[in-house]
Symmetry: C2
Subunit: 312 residues, 2 copies
């Protein structure tokens, strides 16, 4: 890990696949994860430990984790909504778990039927569970603050509320917090403001990741803003899978391929081989023939002669 | 003009319409220009003074200029490929003319069948023509350096070549130079590097505008990078008109609506009323029913309650 290293965390198999109706066969998911890891993506959120009746698309998460754990060097991550999910994730042996906590209590109640206080209690119980494990078996535990940049139900979210939640998550036993632009409301200066504020609250090293959406086309602009302020991990989804159905190109997550190209062009080390990454699209497209894959760079191709003479 | 003012220059009626086959009726063009000026866009490049046999889509440029000049406060701009075009533009009475000079000589020869030396001579002749006018009748004369970030034929373009061309354009009588990312090769750090270098060469006040494409999805990211380095005018196209046909969402120019939203959210003054701007799409879509309009923000809508509490 050099100073110039930026970690791309692929969330397509979780955030992407949970947003579309089609269920990707387990074998295709395995091929996807293997190919993307081989292309150099260092961390993949392979699924979510939720009841299969809620998200049948992710019912095989434990099996996919088992496969992903066989890939040398890959950080295998999963989302967990609650204590039960954490138990299953720990049993499966993931390296990292993220529990989403919606800054909008309205959204939290609607989404997981829990108040902030109830969620923080859940976090404490999960932390206790983790601390019962031997030290070398403990996954990294992230509290992901969703709707951090505003909520489609509540509208704007006050920074003070985010700070209180970030602090509560750390006190409850998280190793780090993340900020999620669930609604695609983030804008460059808002990103800078919130990142600075949260880093000030929980410490620079306890906020390193952003989960940015591209709903209003500002995804990579927000990344550029965040890069100058100590964010070193960005979530993204291959082909923008899980795109918003009402707008062509209006993907949910930022597109992994475009992010990887941009970071590479800016001289950041990501470990990703761009051509190999673009090829992973074929696996995903074949398994999801009805799904439109997004991504400007794979469609347009790399600049002629890239990277020679282009990295500045 | 406050310190915080950023000028959005709409180029859709020129750059957008020249890229599509359908010819927009003059009345629709007039309605478009009027509505977008009424929405607060301060400058519109309404056409190009080229022979109608080359670009029949823009054959009515002089008539559109005449209409645009009746709109109080609007800066009426036009592209001109050569001296003949400049004569016609001056006759029409535009406020600003831009002559494109391709940094790639291969591209220049292919596109306008002229070497760099021939183009600079043309610029000198145009400057002489302008200087024959009374001072208050002289349009602003911009030299737009195209393929500034690389060329699909030549590949990378050395910074030294750009500096030499920028200097030659100023010496030949341009009032300012602009940088155009014709091929969509620009990346955030390249933008910063080139902007700094060219400003160093021609003086800060003689490079204020960028013409950025969104071919690889980095358009707004490049804008964010440029905003920190003294660029105060950005070209954009309503609905991303003139989009690249091979990729959904891969528009040529950056989308005016997304640019306007981003700048507004960042606290910049643009003078643009976002809702009124989004409504202009209806005029364009009605006149070009077969054309897909891009734009993430108009499709997704403004954040709930925007702008209250969002501008930071």
């Amino acid at each position: 890990m050099t100073k110039n290293y930026i970690k791309i965390s692929e969330v397509g198999p979780r955030d992407g696949l949970q947003s579309i109706k089609q269920v990707m066969p387990l074998e295709a998911k395995k091929a996807w994860v293997s190919a993307e890891a081989a292309a150099g993506v260092p961390e993949i959120e392979v699924g979510s430990f939720v009841p299969p009746r809620i998200l049948p698309q992710l019912a095989d998460t434990a099996e996919l984790v088992a496969h992903a754990l066989t890939i040398p060097g890959l950080i295998v991550a999963a989302l967990i909504p609650n204590l039960k999910g954490a138990e299953n994730a720990l049993k499966a042996g993931v390296h990292k778990i993220t529990i989403p906590l919606s800054a909008s209590e309205t959204h939290s109640l609607k989404n997981v039927n829990r108040t902030h206080t109830q969620m923080i209690t859940e976090v404490k119980n999960i932390a206790a569970l983790i601390n019962n494990l031997p030290k070398d078996k403990r996954p990294k535990f992230e509290g992901g603050i969703s709707t951090a940049f505003g909520c489609t139900l509540e509208g704007k979210i006050e920074t003070d509320k985010i700070l209180a939640l970030a602090s509560a998550l750390m006190d409850a036993g998280c190793d780090e917090v993340g900020l999620s632009d669930t609604t695609g409301y983030a804008t460059p200066r808002h990103v800078v403001k919130l990142v600075k504020a949260v880093k000030g609250e929980v410490g620079n090293e306890h906020l390193t990741g952003l989960h940015i959406h591209n709903t209003r086309g500002l995804g990579l602009a927000n990344v550029v803003a965040a890069l100058d302020h100590g964010i070193t991990t960005f979530d993204a989804s291959l082909g923008g899978i899980g795109g918003c159905p009402f707008a062509p190109g209006a993907s949910g997550n930022i597109v992994t391929e475009d992010l990887a190209f941009m970071l590479d062009s800016m001289g950041y080390k990501t470990g990703v081989d761009l051509d190999a990454l673009f090829k992973v699209r074929e696996i995903v497209q074949e398994a999801l023939p009805d799904e439109e894959l997004y991504g400007f760079t794979p469609d347009a191709g790399l600049p002629k002669g890239y990277p020679i003479g282009y990295k500045v």
